[in-house]
């Protein structure tokens, strides 16, 4: 099922129908070849304009981050730093709690990733390899839960964590993230489970493997791509979250990076845009790199999770 919705090699099979097209003598104000070339040219022009506009905010962030202070606040914007410097990065990293908050973020992110993989894997196994009563209900529940507004569950979770003394703890924060990520991770891993033929585990069973061995030694490696997709999703969710961390972590020493970034100010005259942009670059970089690495599987993964959903 999942493979049907994936964008795959179909693109390659296309394109070569041009021959037919060009033999047709229709509405030939321009020779067909030139028509096509002109069309291609127009498309390329639009694509260039679009790309420039769309990349501009990212470019401006990087550009500002490398400018010395004097080149940031200028009546006429400077489009390339005249004297590129990394001062802003030094300010961002040293001045505020960057390192502490980076450590906080990493703790929470690792906990979220590990927990969501383990819990998601077992739950996905149950929901794909077995038929039992209530399974459909669980699947529908998982889907509906994903739509709940973030601000809605914030209030009861806040109160509950408050009375359980989990407010302002990494454990509580990670728990909230795991709950947010689980529906997606179960859904995606389930898609990969379904694609594995039953014969494989039957063979393993013949060899005397028990459920635990089948799950951990046979099936886990086979759903590897699902595990990777899940961990990247969990990483990004926990790394990027602002709302929950901002509400739950009131102790400045416990801030995660998004909260650090949003409250980034330096003593020197209010908002320091250079430092802020340098901080934004540092904070965004891991995510952008992740996205670029997995770009080929990105849409496939999203459609496995969403289109299938």
């Amino acid at each position: 099922m999942s493979t049907a919705s994936l964008p795959s090699s179909a693109a390659a099979a296309v394109d070569e129908t041009i021959g037919l097209d060009e033999r047709m003598p229709r509405r030939a104000t321009l020779p067909p070849g030139r028509r096509r070339r002109k069309r291609r040219w127009v498309s390329n022009l639009i694509a260039v304009v679009f790309s420039v506009v769309w990349i501009f905010p990212v470019y401006w962030m990087v550009n500002t981050a490398f400018k010395p202070r004097a080149e940031i606040m200028t009546p006429t914007p400077i489009f390339l730093p005249q004297h590129p410097s990394i001062d802003n990065f030094i300010v961002a990293v040293t001045q505020s709690n960057f390192l502490t908050d980076l450590r906080n973020s990493l703790i929470v992110v690792v906990a979220t990733v590990v927990l969501s993989i383990v819990l998601g894997f077992f739950a996905a196994a149950a929901l794909s390899r077995f038929r039992f009563r209530g399974r459909r209900t669980i699947m529908v529940f998982i889907l509906v839960v994903q739509m709940l507004p973030g601000t809605a569950l914030l209030i009861p979770t806040f109160l509950m964590f408050n009375s359980l003394n989990l407010l302002g703890t990494f454990f509580g924060l990670a728990l909230a993230y795991v709950a947010a990520v689980l529906p997606f991770s179960i859904w995606v891993m389930r898609g990969f489970f379904i694609a594995i033929p039953m014969e494989i585990e039957e063979a393993a069973k013949m060899d005397g493997a028990n459920t635990w061995v089948i799950l951990t030694r046979v099936l886990f490696p086979l759903v590897g791509p699902g595990v990777i997709a899940t961990s990247i999703f969990a990483f990004i969710a926990a790394w990027n979250d602002y709302l929950i961390a901002y509400t739950f972590m009131k102790d400045q020493a416990m801030y995660t990076l998004p909260v650090w970034l949003a409250s980034f100010t330096t003593p020197a005259a209010g908002t320091d845009f250079g430092g802020q942009m340098a901080g934004s670059v540092l904070f965004s970089l891991p995510v952008i790199i992740f996205f670029l690495i997995i770009q080929r599987n990105l849409v496939a993964g999203m459609s496995a999770g969403a289109v299938k959903g």
Binding site: F50, V58, W60, L115, M160, A176, F291, M302
Partner: protein, 324 residues
């Protein structure tokens, strides 16, 4: 563990393989314990951090839980008073209207641009298509806290590069000192632009992926008949894209309806609450005014509206079975 004779078997396979000489009802037997212990850990987390909060949310919404209660633990049951208060509060209705207008504007903007970009990508050569893909991914990958800060900087009065660019256009007059976040319509516009900017990549890439799957024969046939580009797009591409488009539109509605960070970080719902959507309104009520009971009631209403908005989607999912 070893007692579990044949744990990982679907019933149809159990029947086909016929591993058990005993005739037993397909859904019974000890092997059914496996899904239970497999589901328990995830179930516990979801139960404690999702199901319990949902129930709590409804319970809190019929109390007068506030800041005092946080310390004393004392609160009173007030029935539907919170709801009555909301429904007579013009701030709530305005937030609802704003949320709907915002959502519609964002969904229309991002889906329209996304469709255009997807179509554009099918007409590009490999190199240019790769460039566009990378650009889209960069915009998509930016964490929204970072992009909100970048937006603040782009639209900064006096030094913002957007203000400068608009001034250079000489269409809007001197925009240099315009404070976007201080002006109702302008702050809404800049937030709208941010949301669309971040939403287009997913939409464009998903639609493009769907578009390259359209069998090429249809296009050939249409071109043989001399159909115009527009006709081809409308009567072939759009027809094939319909299911994907529907899904994307619904997902966009859900996501845009729930937008919080960007608004909070750019305008905090201001100026004069003109960018206060339901999410911001809830947050302000619950965590700035610490009227948690009221906030919970707003949340319940917000969630119900969202469920109604997406009922079709849920019904389709449940109906289609999708071998759930």
């Amino acid at each position: 563990m070893t007692v579990m004779a044949d744990p990982v078997v679907r019933e149809e396979h159990a029947a086909a393989v016929g591993d058990s000489p005993r005739r037993r009802p397909p859904r019974r037997g000890r092997r059914q314990w496996a899904p239970l212990w497999l589901l328990t850990p995830a179930g516990l987390v979801m139960g404690v951090v999702t199901v319990v909060p949902i129930v709590l949310l409804v319970l809190i919404s019929v109390t007068d839980y506030d800041q005092r209660s946080l310390f004393t633990g004392a609160f009173a049951f007030v029935g539907f008073e919170q709801y009555a208060a909301i429904f007579t509060d013009s701030d709530f209705w305005w937030s609802l209207v704003r949320t709907i207008v915002f959502t519609v504007a964002m969904v229309v903007g991002s889906v329209a641009v996304g469709m255009g970009v997807a179509q554009l990508m099918t007409r590009l050569g490999t190199v240019m298509r790769y460039v566009v893909t990378v650009v889209l991914i960069c915009a998509w990958a930016m964490p929204n806290v970072a992009s909100s800060l970048v937006w603040n900087w782009l639209f900064q009065p006096g030094y913002g590069v957007v203000n400068w660019l608009l001034t250079q256009l000489r269409v809007f007059g001197d925009m240099t000192d315009v404070a976007w976040s201080q002006h109702p319509l302008l702050s809404a516009t800049s937030i709208w632009a941010l949301i669309v900017w971040q939403a287009v990549p997913f939409i464009a890439l998903t639609l493009y992926a769907a578009q390259v799957q359209v069998p090429q024969e249809y296009y050939e046939a249409a071109r043989l008949d001399g159909a115009s580009e527009w006709t081809v797009y409308r009567s072939i591409t759009l027809v094939f894209l319909r299911p994907t488009l529907l899904l994307i539109t619904i997902l966009s509605i859900i996501w845009d309806y729930n937008v919080f960070n960007q608004i909070w970080l750019i305008s905090q719902g201001g100026p004069d609450a003109t960018t206060t959507t339901l999410g911001i309104f809830t947050y302000k009520t619950a965590f700035v005014g610490f009227d948690l009971g009221g906030g919970a009631a707003i949340s319940v209403v917000t969630t119900l509206i969202l469920l109604v908005l997406t009922a079709v989607y849920i019904r389709n999912l449940v109906r289609s079975g999708e071998d759930l």
